[in-house]
Amino acid sequence: MTQASLGESVVQKTVHAQQNNGVSASLTHTQPLWLLAEVTYRCPLHCAFCYNPTDYDKHTQNELTTEQWLQTLRDARKLGAIQLGISGGEPLLRDDIEDIVIEAKKLGYYSNLITSGVGLTEKKIQAFKEGGLDHIQLSMHDITEEINNFITNTKTFELKKKVAAMIKNHGYPMVLNVVIHRYNIGHMREILEMAQALGADYIELANTQYYGWSLVNRSQLMPTKAQVDEAEAITNEFRANPDNKMKIFFVVPDYFSDRPKKCMNGWGEVFMIVTANGDVLPCHSARSLPNMQFPNVRDTGLAYAWQESPAFNQYRGDSWMKEPCRSCSEKENDLGGCRCQAFLLSGDAEAADPVCSKSPHRHLIDQAIIDSTNPVLVAQPIVFRNDKNSKKIMAGEFKDRVEGFHSLP
């Protein structure tokens, strides 16, 4: 899955809603609305753009038990969480997803299964339906078998089409997530047409954001500004056609913006992520930040994690900000952007997100854009996300691919 696939849309909804009469949304919410359960880091796909940490392999043996997950669901619900994302890795590699779905229904969550489709059988989807799963989000990669199989490093193209039909047949809303990168950005129109032909209700065009494996493969994945502009123009043209009922979320590629994204809608504002091993995080990549101890559900309750833990309070609000953010008239719009991106690229977790044109580190982003057109860098092989490469990265291999960053992506 992508780091943006959860969250951006709920955030968009909340923010939009705030502009409407009669509908309110608090931006300084002190209760989690979203619980993202990254139930496993095991995955049959090996996507080049995966946001999971490159050292994920160390967390494939210490996953939470079913009972620990059920308790996590109960505790988060008490705190106010209402949307549940069941994600990974590939969540269907666990055999207790049905138990999680049933508990989620009982607790009143709106439950979202975020899957590659691998492992989704007729029997399983029937059980999920009966258990009360509300929605399945399926990742798709391209209209061509070649690109699908290349970027995921698997042969899964035909399977995904079958799974899409299965989802539709069971009366689920069809939500497709397509991560956009150099290899498929030229097929935007065809991707939208494919989604429509499959009967998709929503499609998320998630321009790659550079964390985890996608940061390691940044020069290989990044499209050009011209390609991004064209993709956006095609998307807008598609949206403008009243015959197209499919809703499209276009996740903005932040490297080509001059202001950063309001990452996670603010640190510790609405999102709580529990990872496969039980770490509780305010964002997917938070473990790349320095000097920070994240709570773990095995040791502390979720209420402590959300309300009191130093980690969740570290970047709440704006008192932590430095210049140029501190006195910036736009600081409420983006809260200084992403802490992880700031640290990974600049070495300073409290710096403005380097994406911002006011950041003294913007040159790092501009250089990355230039690097993505450098034939020598582009010719480096993609480091696919798999256990072997994860072990190698932890052992200090691929040095040339990670040494430019201030911690392991």
């Binding site: 909804k13 909340t14 409407n20 009669g22 309110s24 989000q137 809303p173 939500v175 209700d201 809703k247």
Partner: protein
């Protein structure tokens, strides 16, 4: 975008795959849908709560006027909520 024309005799229900519920922790009504949600002020929630797929718009207005006799200009606010909810795809016309 064309203006939504809400008629007294129209009947609305929650859109497919949407769920409406009271959230105790938030003290708010919410509408939930794939990967998203909106929180509704009490007044907006009162409108959505009455959409059972049977009541006409005029029934909803009458019932709300009955329930909140103090509220002024309530009718235009209710119609405004129908328009908003329809334009956002939260409700569907039967």
């Amino acid at each position: 975008m064309t203006a939504n024309n809400i008629q007294d005799s129209d009947i609305y229900a929650l859109a497919l795959h949407h769920r409406f519920q009271w959230e105790e922790a938030q003290q708010n009504y919410v509408i939930l849908f794939p990967e998203g949600m909106v929180k509704l002020h009490g007044g907006a929630g009162e409108v959505i709560k009455r959409l059972d797929g049977i009541a006409k718009v005029s029934d909803v207005v009458a019932d709300l006027k009955d329930t909140f006799p103090e509220a002024a200009n309530i009718e235009s606010e209710i119609i405004g909520m129908f328009e908003l909810a329809l334009s956002k795809g939260w409700i569907r016309k039967l």
